[in-house]
């Protein structure tokens, strides 16, 4: 069976170390290059090249590899290769784009061809998760060739055709070292940037899997006999970020008032056809390590909002800018407009400024000059509070919020690998964050998808799009 997967934009590079884009470059390359571990649709880590892995102490991880694994050119896939790859990324003279993944890695110690240890400078509980995104290149080949435009297989598939900007077709790698075999005769990744065209291709039977479908289109796809559609919670939370460094967002009552003013359920219900789940007063989804199950969302209470606004003493006569990175989040413009309308209902005037995502990021990361309100969706690939909450840590350039208590809890959570003490620390942190409300908590962005009836698909909420999650429909 040949299958085709639609992607929203073209693969940039074939070098797995030059891109952090999970849904795009890495999804394709993960069919070609091996990783130590693979993350299943339920986010559990599964052995791949590594058969076993464990934390020996707070600062040391040990891995055991499958013996006799090779690349298609015969190069060995052993501990030495892993070490070479990590060094390639972190090489101080020529760091690769994903070098920040390994910033805490101190050293890689090869014990035997099938065993090695990784030492970190501070506790790195999410290391194994991070490694599930890290692909390995054959050292000799990589030095002799240009990995940005050529590949060599070390995993289930190899490239049979590559038309830049249009499609990449994969075929099974005959020399694959593992036990299982490729389920498809060929896998094609096709670029279809326009949503309507993507849906059309699915309905025309040209592609077997699409994502980023507006929620209201799901039912229509489902209704056709060519395909079915659905949604699961993604790991990405969408919220309205406040720039608390600017008045009046430095006012806690004002921030809380805005949280009361938004009818999150209505948004989830009406805009997302009930496919989105309202955030539980935190930016993490239940899949995260560190999720706080005890928190509940701010209720929708416009009266309370108005009252708080009054108490806050904020002058509401001037509109507040509300930045919207266009085209970045599923139905982002709709959510922004809906929220703006709800704000207005309680008397807070806003002025939407939609801008191209790059321009937004520039303000966010470089100029450090975010508007007072902006729509943002954030996820952390390791699905761990340690990563996501750090983005709100005082002093962090992404934070725009300065709360000392929150900071303390985060430091506590990051200084140990002990699961229980970490959970406790994050519970405390999320409570602070909920109350202080540096954002309007909205919802977990649904990961929507459509699949042709020729295959079955195990949906997942992170961005991976892989043939491994699909099966030919019998």
């Amino acid at each position: 069976l040949d299958i085709t997967i639609a992607q929203t934009s073209a693969v940039n590079t074939l070098d797995p170390h030059a891109s952090a884009s999970v849904g795009l470059d890495l999804s394709v390359l993960s069919h070609i290059y091996p990783t130590l571990l693979l993350r299943a649709p339920d986010y559990s880590l599964q052995p791949s090249l590594a058969t076993e892995w464990k934390a020996i102490d707070d600062l040391t991880w040990q891995f055991t590899l499958t013996p006799d694994a090779t690349f298609a050119n015969g190069e060995k896939l052993d501990a030495q290769t892993v070490a070479w790859n990590i060094n390639r990324v972190t090489d101080a003279d020529n760091p690769k784009r994903i070098s920040s993944w390994f910033s805490q890695v101190e050293s890689v110690n090869v014990i035997s061809p099938t065993e090695f240890q990784i030492k970190t400078s501070s506790p790195y509980p999410a290391l194994a998760d991070q490694l599930s995104m890290f692909m390995l290149l054959p050292p000799e080949w990589a030095e002799a060739n240009d990995p940005t435009s050529e590949t060599i297989s070390g995993f289930l598939y190899e490239i049979s055709e590559y038309v830049p900007g249009d499609h990449i077709t994969l075929k099974p790698n005959e020399s694959y070292w593992g036990d299982e075999s490729a389920k498809f005769d060929s896998v094609t990744f096709r670029v279809i940037p326009e949503t309507a065209s993507r849906i059309a291709s699915l309905l025309a039977g040209e592609v077997d899997m699409i994502n980023s479908v507006p929620a209201s289109e799901l039912a229509r796809i489902d209704a056709s006999d060519m395909a079915s559609a659905g949604a699961v919670d993604s790991t990405r939370s969408v919220f309205i970020k406040f720039n608390t460094e600017k008045a009046p967002l430095d006012n806690k009552l004002f921030r809380q008032a805005l949280n009361y003013a938004v009818d999150k359920d209505l948004i989830a219900e009406a805009l997302f056809d009930g496919r989105a789940n309202v955030s539980a007063c935190q930016v993490m989804t239940p899949d995260y390590f560190g999720f706080n199950p005890d928190l509940t969302a701010y209720e929708y209470d416009p009266e309370k909002a108005k009252q708080l606004l009054e108490e806050s003493g904020v002058d509401l006569s001037q509109p507040i800018e509300f930045e919207l990175p266009s085209g970045q989040y599923l139905q982002g413009a709709e959510v922004t407009q809906a929220v703006a309308q709800m704000f207005e209902d309680v008397g807070v005037k806003t002025e939407i400024q939609s801008m191209e995502f790059g321009a937004y990021l520039d303000k966010y990361r470089k100029a450090h000059d975010l508007g007072r309100l902006s729509l943002l969706g954030q996820a952390w690939a390791t699905i761990d509070a340690d990563g996501l909450l750090t983005l709100f840590k005082p002093g962090n350039q992404y934070s725009y919020w300065n709360d000392a208590t929150f900071d303390q809890h985060l430091i506590a959570g990051g200084s140990t690998t002990d699961q229980d003490s970490r959970l406790a620390a994050y519970k405390a942190a999320t409570e602070v964050m909920c109350d202080e409300a540096p954002v309007v908590f909205l919802y977990a962005q649904p990961a929507t998808y459509g699949v042709s009836s020729r295959v079955t698909y195990q949906p997942r909420g992170d961005d991976w799009m892989r043939a491994f999650d699909m099966m030919p429909a019998e």
Binding site: A200, S216, E217, A270, E334, A338, Q341, S354, M355, E356
Partner: protein, 285 residues
């Protein structure tokens, strides 16, 4: 003027265009006085509701359906006509003034001025719209005014080119020499003798540009750089509704139709205007 109207009456296409155009402008002008739902506020629960003629005159009716945030499409279209026409007209006028002035200057002066200007036109044509738009937005921030600016920036070239060509032949005409002969200054010649004679072609380019710019506005919105939400403009509506094209056809079809109709009427009218003012295609005196 009387002749103009008489000739218009005789031209089927021109008349249709003129009437349609008048109608559109009329609706745009009087939109605020119509009893319409707020075009920027919607009912999320009534999102993407189809057109229905039931209870047409009751307050909650949406004869052309609602959009993706539950706003009344009819109201957005009518208010959008104001924005769209305002944006398009200002851009056309702005581009027209600059383009005509430069076209006259280049055409009349010729030589170096001309060559520099024409290469400048080449340069601008090679730079994609998006980059231009981004530049303006980066430099001046997103706003309706800057959308106009971007569109005007794409427009002046066409005036400049056409007007320049016109001036090249005009400056050989004897009345220009005659102005020289009485000692008129270059400025005077350009302003009193050349300009009035290129106003008609400029007007014709203007009608064509108006049509093009209305469509450009939708392309800008398509790239996420057009009019800011929730302000309605036809281009914006078309761009925002396009994902729902097959499940909620009304979100794009009505604004699309409005654009087509406007462009059609402007062009019909413009074609007639050109034929009318062109002494060659017009009946010889």
């Amino acid at each position: 003027m009387k002749n103009l109207i008489k000739d218009l009456m005789r031209s089927k296409a021109g008349l249709i265009g003129a009437i349609l155009l008048l109608l559109i402008v009329f609706v745009a002008v009087f939109a605020p006085f119509l009893d319409l739902p707020d075009p920027t506020r919607g009912d999320l629960r009534a999102r993407l509701a189809g057109p229905t003629w039931d209870g047409l005159f009751s307050p909650g009716a949406h004869p052309l359906g609602t959009d993706e945030v539950g706003r009344d499409i009819l109201s957005r279209m009518i208010h959008g006509s104001r924005v769209t026409l305002l944006v398009a007209t200002t851009a056309v006028v702005l581009g027209g003034i600059v383009g005509t002035a430069l076209g006259i200057w280049a055409g009349y002066k010729g030589g170096l001025v001309d060559r520099v200007l024409m290469r400048l036109v080449d340069i601008q044509l090679a730079i994609p719209l998006m980059l231009l738009a981004l530049l303006v937005v980066a430099a001046l921030g997103p706003s309706l005014r800057n959308v106009v600016l971007v569109l005007a920036l794409t427009s002046w070239i066409r005036y400049a080119r056409i007007i320049r060509a016109q001036v090249l032949s005009l400056r050989e005409r004897e009345f220009v020499q005659s102005a020289h002969a009485i000692g008129a200054s270059t400025m005077r010649i350009m302003f009193f003798h050349i300009l009035p004679n290129v106003l008609t072609p400029a007007l014709v380019v203007g009608t064509l540009e108006l049509a093009r710019i209305i469509i450009m506005d939708s392309a800008l919105s398509f790239l996420g750089l057009g009019v800011q939400p929730p302000t309605p403009s036809w281009g914006r509506m078309l761009a925002d509704g396009r994902v729902y094209i097959s499940s909620a056809w009304w979100t794009v079809t009505f604004p699309g139709l409005a654009i087509v109709l406007t462009v059609l009427s402007v062009n019909l009218f413009g074609d007639w205007l050109r034929d009318y003012f062109d002494p060659k295609t017009r009946n010889k005196k």
